[in-house]
């Protein structure tokens, strides 16, 4: 357990500089965006009001209100998020491959530590989860600040009432910011399983070389197939099962997929891995 925490600390530290850069990027881009979008909107409003000699309430009757969505849908807001997602996706692979390649043969040291080798796997897995959750938490904090920024530029009379969880009503955000705790576990649980399977696939490649890539792909597809099996079967049987039953089947299947990923990874790390 102690070694797990030490390794976790080590892995997080390795990425920390890049992580801070990402955070910096997100903050800068979104704050600037909040200002730019708000000011831009106010400019338009002022121009139209001047040209057509409208009062504010007349303006809102004709042109509607400012919705926070206008900011949230802008590139200022979205680009840094997509960029971060891309970086993290790459890091899912890089977190392993970086220890093998370049001038770096740190994998020797990792594999020679007096600890169960699966600890390496768990620490890297946890690192990814923490990095993702960290950014998710950051975004929640940033949103509340960004609301303040917008409010300081656009009078509330011009804004449609922004409920915090309207933010979630955007389909995409429903995935990252689920409303209930159960949904949260569900979605991030699936994310965890996804990363775990990917990690195991990487270890398959590292253990078997070229033919390992094929085996890894087959493994990945198998895991995915098994995972969606209950949903598929239910669909094929025209909704034969109750939702709760499908849910329970999925839960069991998910646990099976996760456990097999970990079991295979453990086996590979102990007996098949090569430096």
């Amino acid at each position: 357990m102690k070694n797990y925490l030490k390794l976790l600390n080590f892995e997080v530290n390795r990425f920390f500089k890049l992580y801070l850069t990402l955070i910096g990027l997100i903050i800068v881009s979104q704050f600037i965006g909040a200002v730019v979008v708000s000011k831009g909107y106010m400019n338009d409003v002022d121009q139209v009001m001047y040209k057509k000699q409208l009062s504010m309430s007349q303006y809102t009757e004709d042109y509607g209100l400012f919705s926070f969505d206008q900011f949230v849908g802008s590139e200022w807001f979205l680009l840094p998020i997509f960029f971060s997602i891309a970086v993290l996706m790459i890091y899912v692979f890089f977190i392993w491959y970086r220890d093998w390649f370049g001038k770096n043969t740190f994998i020797y040291r990792l594999l020679m530590l007096p600890t169960e080798r699966i600890t390496i796997y768990f620490s890297k897995l946890t690192t990814i989860m923490l990095l993702v959750l960290g950014l998710v938490a950051l975004q929640i904090v940033l949103i509340s600040i960004e609301i303040q920024i917008v409010n300081s530029i656009i009078p509330t009379d011009l804004q449609s009432h922004f409920l915090f969880y309207d933010f979630y009503s955007l389909r995409m955000w429903g995935w990252l910011y689920p409303n209930t705790f159960t949904e949260f576990i569900l979605i991030y649980g699936v994310g965890l399983i996804f990363v775990a399977v990917l990690f195991t696939a990487i270890l398959i490649e590292r253990s078997y070389g070229l033919k390992g890539i094929f085996i890894a792909i087959v493994y990945g597809m198998l895991s995915f197939g098994v995972f969606i099996a209950p949903l598929l079967v239910n669909r094929l049987l025209n909704g034969y099962f109750y939702t709760l039953e499908v849910f329970l089947m999925e839960l069991v299947i998910s646990i099976i997929v996760l456990v097999s990923a970990i079991w295979i990874a453990n086996y590979l790390l102990k007996y098949k891995i090569r430096v």
Partner: protein
Amino acid sequence: MIEVKNVEKKYGRKRVLNSLSFTAEKGEITCLIGINGVGKTTIMKAIMALTPINSGEILIDGEKIRKESYEKVTFIPDTITMLPQMKICDAFAFMADFYKNWNPQRAEELLQFFKLDPTERIANLSKGNMAKVNMILGLALDVDYLLMDEPFSGIDIFSREQIAEVFTSHLIEDRGVIITTHEISDIEHLIDRAVLIDNGKVLKEFSVEEVREKDGKSVVDVMREVYGR
């Protein structure tokens, strides 16, 4: 003692290790000798479970390798086992953090002996100095067995002399050492046993002083006989 028993390993179609067997005792320096690609590095990695074997057995003090074994045996490969951006002191801190058997005083002593600056980053070190740091990472562990892969290769002669000094000092005493090298004539007088390997097989395993006494032959002489070159 480290026992390697009938180890087989195939890499693709090539038989890299062909029923390879030898023993290395604690308190002795055993040298694996052979040309490049003959399996010396592979068998060392196999002992450390850094590469799998197809069949055969490797025992360290009668046991198969487990996680605790890494406090008993360590490997010094010909590449650095720390992150290049780490400073030397960071690397030492890492070792101290994970290994109970890390001896910080000995690490300090070796640092001074090799005249290295602990605040230097590993990536900025010369090849010779990097090899020395690698050595320290192994020697400062209170392990029973040290495996060193080509400790002298690609290093200037003065660094080599420094490293050779280590072999005759208290740092090696009572430990079992397995080394591989090309520079055998330089270190003949340092080793206890020689294991001649060719094509993944042990051709001859012998005590160096015994052969000198009985046959008046040096290791190089025996090599010429055995390899027919």
